[in-house]
Symmetry: C2
Subunit: 315 residues, 2 copies
């Protein structure tokens, strides 16, 4: 426990991000409660600024920098929600954000980053290309690198979603979050640990991107090998900052098949009238595939985001 | 003015439906505010029970019946949201609901009605067939006919959406609702008339189903001729109960083209993360096509429903 961030680290993050993020609503669904046998409380970070919880980590990370670093700006590599989050957070806080994106990133993603004022630097498509380009950017500009998920400042920012949920819905038996890079589930677990210690923390991960599951089983970070899932936010690797937190505070990870993710997405769209991305419904898939785990329980579910290309849906 | 329902009729309806409907949230969108130049307040009745405002009118209509009528149940003809609303309202209140639906109604609609416990009676596909079947049902069962939109009890129930909106967001310059059968815009206008008299009421109607627009222009109810719009909830005719209210209290109706409806739908889905049906975004299309009308204004928008077949989207 010695290396965990402290309760004060979490409350400080909450104070820091509060003026810059939406306090998102918690929603319920009698239809999904009936189907699952659980009482589900959905924390709707699809309604967060730029459409995902990533805004929380980006704001907290930037606000944690010393003044002189702010002047030189921040840099990251991402083709997903964190690219948009760091761009918007930097603009809101009046600093520069440089985003290294692979040349083959979807045009719609590049457009969104540019729309939030992020400066895009293209790299080759391999992880090595991307990291080499990022190092060159940092060397040239003096910008501070902020990793999308394996950064304690980002994890602490992410924890504020669950801090808010616990304030609004006390006495949860279980809180669930999807697992990709590990930054959200780590923040979720820290918030539960300090503010609702009897709440069990369970992750949900695509079976076709199961590196976190395998890492928890073996106790050692396992590489992600050709992750191939519709939940595009969950294809990334665990890191050495978030994995120790996950190993200590997350009870288990449930693996979810592609069709279960899609069925969960359709349920949330049709029954809850919420636009959420597939990464957000891995949890719903997990709840419906394991009714015995959730039956009769009061369960918090972090809906991580709603950025989806509506012209390219799986149904 | 002598024939308008009274303020007390509206407050009574509010008291009557309150225990049985969700008080739906009001949401805002910085993206849509920026695009429109207005300050938009969306009343999210897509989150209402059964997914549309129709629940309000159905509950109020049933609760307005004398006890002996309750025992014989209610009947309606609808293949849309009112069919689901009357079925669910009747089930909640423990009475029988019979729904006359045309044989060619989509399977998904029949399934939804049956799912809420409505008893489906099939009719031929013409309006004449439908009305003949309804009359036969009423004669046989003694059920009370409740029209989906041209019924003062339904209109008063519908008014509660705008009553809530006005409580939550005072001092609206304009309130907008879509116009189909006229039951929603009539209820909206009544609520504004009594509880926010300085608020102007503007309707939005598909150009391809413009009977209400033509009726307002001529002062006489005009028939709907081959309405052909994606906004399937708005293909119905005005009636003699709601038209006088509309003529007296609605300032004007803006006509909206099909592509504008679809563009509005996509905006609400992608930027607001809300699943809404095309009938709900005719208003958004109207606001974006007439910026001069809405610029700088505080505008309430009734999002009427979110029941949409996600496997059959226009984008």
């Amino acid at each position: 426990m010695g290396n965990l961030p402290t309760r004060e680290d979490l409350t400080n993050a909450m104070e820091r991000v509060r003026p810059y993020v939406h306090r998102t609503p918690v929603m319920t669904s009698s239809a999904l409660n009936k189907m699952s046998g659980a009482r589900l409380y959905f924390k709707c970070d699809n309604f967060q600024r730029m459409g995902a919880f990533k805004m929380r980590g980006a704001i907290n990370a930037i606000l944690s920098l010393p003044t002189e670093a702010l002047e030189r700006g921040v840099a990251t590599h991402s083709s997903g929600n964190f690219a948009q989050a760091i761009s918007l957070a930097a603009r809101v806080l009046g600093i520069r954000a440089i985003v290294v994106m692979p040349e083959n990133a979807p045009r719609i993603k590049k457009k969104a980053v540019a729309g939030y004022g992020g400066e895009i630097v293209l790299s080759g498509n391999s992880p090595q290309d991307r990291e080499a380009k990022l190092e060159a950017v940092v060397a040239e500009t003096g910008a501070t690198f902020i990793h999308p998920s394996n950064d304690i400042r980002v994890i602490l920012g992410n924890s504020t979603a669950t801090q808010e949920l616990i304030e609004d819905v006390p006495d949860l038996d279980i809180v669930m979050a999807p697992v990709g890079g590990g930054g959200l589930i780590a923040g979720t677990a820290l918030a539960a640990h300090y503010f609702s210690p009897d709440t069990r923390v369970i992750g949900a991960e695509p079976a076709q991107a199961d590196d976190a599951y395998r890492s928890l089983q073996t106790g050692v970070i396992q590489p992600s090998i050709n992750p191939d899932t519709i939940a595009d936010g969950l294809r990334t690797n665990l890191g050495d900052v978030n994995f120790p937190i996950i190993r200590e505070l997350v009870e288990r990870i449930i693996l979810v098949e592609e069709q279960e993710i899609i069925d969960g997405m359709r349920l949330v769209w049709e029954r809850m009238k919420l636009v959420v991305e597939p990464s957000a419904t891995v949890t719903v898939g997990a709840i419906l595939k394991e009714p015995e785990t959730f039956d009769g329980k009061k369960v918090g579910v972090i809906l991580c985001g709603g950025n989806v290309d509506t012209s390219n849906l799986p149904f």
